[in-house]
Amino acid sequence: MGVSTDLYLAAEGAAVAATTGGIFSEWAGLMLIGPMLAFVVIVMFGKRMRYQGAEVAIGVMAFNFVWSSVLLVLNMGEKGVLYERSLEIASVGGGLVFELGWIVDGLSIMMYWVVAAVGLAVFVYAHGYMKEEVRVTFFFAALSLFAGSMLVLVGSPNLVQLIIGWEGVGLASYLLIGHNWELKENSSAAMKAFYTNKVADVGLVIGVIIIGIVLGSFHFWDLAAAAAEHSAALGPVAVTAGLLLFFGAMGKSAQFPLHIWLPDAMAGPTPVSALMHAATMVTAGIYLMARTFPLYQELATAARPWMIAAGTITLFGMGLLALVSDDIKRVLAYSTVSQLGYMMTAVAAGGYTAGLFHLFTHAFFKALLFLGAGSVIHAVHSNNMSDMGGLRRHMPDTYRTFVIGALALAGVFPLSGFWSKDEILATLGYEGYTLVMWIAVAGAFVTAFYMARAVALTFFGEYRGHGEPHESPPIMTRPLWALAVPAVLAGVVNIPGLKLPWIGSFTSWLSVRSVPMGDHHAEAIDLGLAAAGLAAAVAGLWMGWVAFGPSAADRPDRDRVEIPALYPLLRQKYYLDHAALGLVWVIREPAARAVNWVNDYVIDGVVNGVGALCQKLAGLVYGGVDQLGIDGAVHGLSWGTSGMGGLIRRIQSGRVQQYAGLLVAGLLLLVVVVLFVL
């Protein structure tokens, strides 16, 4: 327990001078505890509150927003904040200690702020969105639990606490995806999400175990220091541990092929999708990779190609799936998966800042898009884009903000998405992953294409749904605008070569201030690459508009993208769901049944068999040996026979002689045994 700032600063090659951040760091743990307490309070008393607990959740989130904003400001400029505090919760022998605590540094501050900012917007929005829904109290409780867990995760100074937060967000995700659990579909989606993550968590847990045992510590700082020093102990296991951690990250951050849960997770209410399955929770994997970045940068370099491969497949392959989806939320979901692929690829390629920068901007515009989609769904009571169209006139606020989000996502200059995507492309190029870079450019084209399609189908043409759609109430549209601002502007903080006075750059905010991250920041923008990226985006938008815009409204099959060879494959989502379901089926049906059969008929069979055998043996011994064919005493004897006569007859008939004979036989047996055998 205690502040060990000096330690970090003393570590080799401290990049930036730091302050402790004073009271705001020392009590930053309140941000972690607050939502957790809110969860308990809402569960216990929420039903009796005026707004069914929403006020507690929103209040806590506002508090967090303020607090993290202060930290954000403190961290700006050249001199960052660095602070850590840990409380031992158990010492388990072998020198290992489990701790809970919080860390305040550039990376965690950014995450605190994103969670609080997007969270606040979403919480407020949800208060409007969920008005007529069931179980509002529980909804806000679970949202608070999520926020708390997410903060425990990103605030964690060590890998064990990270696991706690990690699975905590998984639980919250389970609860919220399955919010309407009366429908089997929803509860199955919730289960799928939890379960897929649980599979991935095996990697995380084992990775943590390896690191913990090898280092004798679960601290991120110790890991970073060991990596920086090319620790001899960590070296041999670094690649294994790195890949295992990455496997864990693949689950949370929906990397191919563990992404399958995320589109299904759209079964949850839309605010949930916006907050968790777009802006924050799914970035946990990226965060983990960033937090353990030195490991990959210094020791586990051999793991990086695999990570890049997974990221690249995800960013391109999953983007394609967004093309064929009719469900607006699924379009956005696949888009999220694809963008997570970008981030992962970037971090894996060494673009620590690039990946996180995209995480940062993406959080705003993707949350914005989801909330916009929610607003639309709220109005038309359908997720399906074939029930929408022409909403531009009915829902002006939603329309405008959605378009801003779509353009930002597509990477149109000068919106935030442009800058972050460009930074990724630049990093890929700089690190020498040229092929990957061009795939990423192609991915940008796909992104723009499906966003154009989504906007066109939703807001242009004729309204195809039922009833009269209305714009959502201000409580929902104001958060949209609130998010639109950073969606437009967030890119400013990291324009290559531009250094804002007093604020500094995203890059400097994020440097973990003890260990050199060793990633590259372009000093000036690479105009050629930027132009290529922008061209891809514009081309995508244009082609999407042509294919699905109002001019194409008369084409009967315009909802489909005509890629004859690929279409079925895309519609079936590359058959990955089938494979996963097949695996689950094998476990649940043949394997489980076989085990149960073994239990009941083999193991229990042996047990019962021994019992039955004993009985048989008993019968044999009793009937064959003990009684030697003599039936019970008087069973054969009728009452009519006079006692003595009958007895004598029986004695003469040899019963007693038999006994006597046996007695002598027994004696002989003993003689034989004693004299000859023993």
Partner: protein
């Protein structure tokens, strides 16, 4: 307070027994009086246990405290030697607590043929056996307490157990579940403990050498560990292993467990799961490993294999169950597999994992069985295909079930996580001399087991809790959790969270003791 020092443990052990005798004197018809009396006795026992915990010197958790060592059967060198150290203390408190909760829960929940007095008397005798096992420091005394729990449980299952007829594979006639389960439970355990006793006696005779008297004293035997070597030690370990492994239960000696748990009345299942299963694993830590450390190392891979098989096997078997109580019963096989895996590593971390795993399993599975009992009480069925939408019919109970299921699947932040995580942690680097690659394989399989655990728990939740209630229950009034249930469950819930967030509650007591144990045991062998 020397009086407390010397009497506290004896009171914790024998107060319930005295309470049982007094309860017998209360007329059967005065049920309330019997209940109140039993509650009083069990609460007093718990208070004493808490006082012991409060006065326990955690700085010296490695040594025995509150020790009493009096002659008992002097002719055979068996003493009344009791005491607690950091290893037994959490289990002792858990045992005292669970008994209180069981009394409270029983207040309004009586299985046929009722007779609260007899039931509570049995429960009190059981409490004496359980508490006694955790404090006994003499092998004969340990044996007595270890066996003492059998009879009450036998009668609980046999009299108040499940009366449905069941076809048992291998037998022609159908039998009542309770009859089959009761005798199976008993024969299995007795079989194991008969061999255990032979092992104890062998240790006793071997412990005498030169001018040293033979002894049954556990600390003394630990000190004389060097006397037990080679084949002798191997056989003795095997004999004790049989006794302990049946109780744990380890695969493949587990088959009494699903039957006994399923057939037992609710409180019986709770006590079985929460405490009785711990007696075996506790005995490994208390007796088998410290006295025969080198042999334990020879046996460790075998134990690990069985443990890992148990983990996977238990989970898969769970997936095939249709009866929710039987599912929970099978889950114990998997969970105790983690406990045994931890023990098999013979490391400080692993043994700590085992103890916290035991405590967590006691809390969580105890609560699950309470819930299964209450569900059965409401629906009169435990078939998962007929349940469903429980969360809608009884939101509070459904919520608690969900919570407990999450705890059971090892959600970090709740008690169940630490045992699993630390068992895996220990397996990565077992005691020097054990095959690292072997234990790492075990670790990976165990970790996969956690996935399967999550699988059946989530699946159970989906079947029982979620969805629309079937038409079968339409228009039926369901009482959500009543106050007795709440009173019995709330402490468990609080503890599951508390231990989950702050595992030091348990590990704070155990670590020093475990470190001492491992050091003493393996220092000599170059550990």
């Amino acid at each position: 307070m020397d009086l407390l020092e010397s009497w506290a443990l004896s009171l914790i052990v024998f107060l319930p027994l005295v309470g049982a005798l007094v309860a017998l004197a209360i007329p059967k018809e005065r049920e309330e009086a019997v209940k109140q009396w039993t509650l009083l006795v069990s609460v007093a026992t718990l208070v004493l246990a808490v006082v012991v915990a409060a006065r326990f010197d955690f700085g010296a958790a490695g040594g025995f405290q509150f020790e009493v060592d009096l002659p008992w059967i002097s002719a055979i060198g068996a003493n009344y030697h009791i005491g607690v150290d950091g290893i037994s203390l959490p289990l002792l408190v858990l045992s005292a607590l669970v008994v209180v909760l069981c009394v409270i829960y029983s207040w309004q929940h009586w299985d046929e043929p009722r007779n609260p007095r007899a039931f509570l008397v049995l429960m009190m005798i059981l409490a004496t056996g359980m508490n006694g096992t955790f404090v006994a420091l003499d092998l004969v005394l340990f044996f007595i307490f270890f066996e003492l729990v059998l009879l009450p449980m036998y009668f609980m299952i046999g009299i108040w157990g499940d009366r449905t007829m069941r076809k048992i594979p291998g037998f022609r006639k159908e039998v009542e579940t309770r009859l089959y389960a009761a005798i199976k439970f008993f024969i299995f355990t007795l079989f194991g403990s008969a061999f255990m006793l032979l092992g104890f006696l062998a240790l006793y005779f071997k412990s005498g050498s030169g001018d040293q008297q033979s002894t049954f004293d556990i600390p003394e035997l630990i000190a004389r560990g060097h006397l037990f070597q080679g084949t002798f030690a191997w056989l003795v370990f095997g004999a004790m292993f049989l006794g302990f492994a049946v109780k744990v239960p380890m695969w493949p000696f587990h088959t009494w467990l699903p039957d006994a748990h399923t057939a037992a009345p609710t409180v019986g299942s709770v006590l079985l799961a929460a405490i009785l299963l711990k007696l075996g694993s506790y005995a490994f830590i208390r007796i088998a490993i410290p006295i025969l450390p080198e042999t334990a190392r020879d046996w460790a891979p075998a134990i690990a294999v069985l443990a890992v098989i148990g983990i996977i096997y238990g989970s898969l078997a769970c997936l095939a169950q249709t009866d929710v109580k039987r599912l929970i019963a099978f889950s114990s096989v998997g969970h105790m597999g983690f406990v045994m895996l931890g023990i098999a590593t013979l490391t400080e971390v692993g043994i700590n994992a085992a103890i916290i795993g035991m405590v967590a399993h006691g809390l969580i599975t105890g609560l699950l069985f309470f819930l299964a009992g209450s569900i059965h009480h409401r629906y009169h069925t435990r078939e998962m295909s007929r349940l469903g939408g429980n969360l809608k019919l009884m939101p509070v109970m459904g919520g608690i079930l969900g919570f407990t299921a999450m705890a059971s699947l090892g959600l970090p932040g709740l008690a169940g996580f630490w045992g699993e995580f630390m068992a895996l942690l220990g397996s990565y680097q077992p005691l020097p001399g054990l095959s690292t690659s072997f234990f790492r394989t075990a670790m990976v399989i165990g970790a996969i087991g956690t996935v399967l655990t999550a699988g059946y728990m989530l699946w159970m939740l989906q079947k029982v809790n979620l969805g629309e209630p079937s038409s079968e229950w339409a228009g039926k009034e369901f009482h959500d959790v009543d106050r007795y249930e709440m009173a019995a469950w709330a402490p468990l819930i609080v503890l599951i969270v508390a231990v989950g967030v702050y595992p030091k509650l348990v590990l704070g007591a155990t670590t020093d003791a475990v470190v001492g144990l491992v050091e003493t045991a393996f220092r000599a062998v170059g550990g």
